[in-house]
């Protein structure tokens, strides 16, 4: 039996990856197209609501506009209601699997990492999602910012054992 120490898969899922993949099913690659379509809709909303705009992010952090607070707030409320309905009616996936939600455990990384990400968010005007959308909207130089974000993730992985968690 694998223990948490030797089971790296457990570690990936419990500590780090926010995109936890709970499906036990294996599918042909083209099943992934449906995630691309959800992403496509998401990307259109990102651009049309100017969520990826550097200017809107500055307005948010300078308390000069309600827009971003309205977006995030109403998204969270919609999410809370959706998750509640899924639990209440035990809604299954389209493949008939039970939907699994994972509790998040607290560690100090959420504070130190959170502050660091906040600083980066206000400089670049983008969280990871908007980085992709900014590139798609024609700001090709943001490819450099995205590569730098990949580098940041890599360096985190490299020094991870030495950081307080």
């Amino acid at each position: 039996m694998q223990t948490p120490e030797t089971n790296t898969d457990f570690e990936v899922r419990s500590l780090d990856a926010m995109c936890v993949n709970e499906s036990q099913l294996t599918h042909k690659w083209y099943h992934n197209i449906k995630y691309m379509i959800v992403g496509l809709a998401f990307g259109i909303v990102f651009v049309k609501a100017e969520i990826i705009s550097w200017f809107r992010i500055q307005e948010m952090f300078r308390l000069q506009s309600f827009h971003m607070y309205g977006v995030i707030g109403s998204a969270v409320v919609t999410g809370i209601i959706s998750v509640w309905l899924i639990k209440k009616f035990s809604i299954k996936t389209i493949y008939g699997e039970t939907i699994i939600l994972h509790p998040r455990s607290f560690n100090k990384g959420q504070i130190y990492g959170g502050l660091l990400f906040g600083l980066g968010w206000a400089i670049t005007g983008a969280c990871p999602g908007p980085l992709y959308a900014q590139i798609g909207s024609g700001a090709y130089v943001i490819v450099i910012t995205l590569l730098s974000a990949v580098a940041g993730t890599w360096v985190y992985g490299y020094v991870r054992e030495k950081l307080p968690h």
């Binding site: 926010m18 990826i52 959706s82 998750v83 502050l115 900014q134 990949v150």
Partner: protein
């Protein structure tokens, strides 16, 4: 006003927010996936440069849905920016406009200010700080925090996880400090 005209206008928050929130049940229902984007950066590392680091030694192919998802975001932005673009320039708060004018930023036509984010500026201190260091902090910080605005602030809060609330508060504190205290110094370089 026709539907096409309405779609081309900037969408209000009460349309965009609920649509973003619906991504959470959509991903859960179509394949038991928890919404999150910053993990895609980790999957790139695992796929391309794992370098024997334990943090990147996992079966990234099992998470490939996430890479399809971010490819979709990119393509969605291409469609929105080219086919659904608003002909008007972005309207920004008058105080922000006055502030930015002080740093000679007067072009609001793009999603990012072209006068700051461009290839020539990459070789200046200001450009390096904003594009390269900024991106680095986004990548390092999100992974250290275990998620970004989507993973913690939307997905985590939707599932009522208090550690995600802590993370979200820290994102906001970092943003307030940068935008109000540090960014003015960087912009005056």
């Amino acid at each position: 006003m026709s539907i096409v005209e309405w779609i081309k206008h900037p969408w209000p928050w009460y349309v965009a927010g609920p649509l973003i929130g619906l991504t959470v049940p959509a991903l859960l229902i179509i394949g038991n996936k928890s919404f999150g984007i910053s993990s895609s950066l980790r999957h790139f590392c695992a796929a391309c440069i794992p370098a024997n680091i334990p943090f990147f030694k996992y079966d990234w192919k099992k998470e490939i849905w996430n890479l399809f998802f971010v490819l979709g975001i990119t393509l969605g932005a291409v469609i929105a920016a080219n086919l659904l673009a608003d002909p008007e320039p972005v309207k920004i708060n008058a105080k922000l406009a006055a502030d930015l004018a002080g740093y000679s930023i007067t072009d609001y036509s793009g999603m990012v200010p072209h006068q700051l984010f461009n290839w020539q500026n990459l070789l200046t201190i200001k450009g390096l700080l904003m594009m390269v260091l900024g991106g680095f902090m986004v990548g390092f910080g999100t992974r250290y925090a275990g998620g970004c605005t989507s993973g913690h602030s939307i997905m985590g809060l939707s599932a009522l996880q208090w550690p995600s609330l802590v993370a979200t508060c820290c994102f906001m504190i970092g943003g307030f400090i940068m935008s109000n205290l540090i960014l003015p110094l960087i912009l005056s370089l």
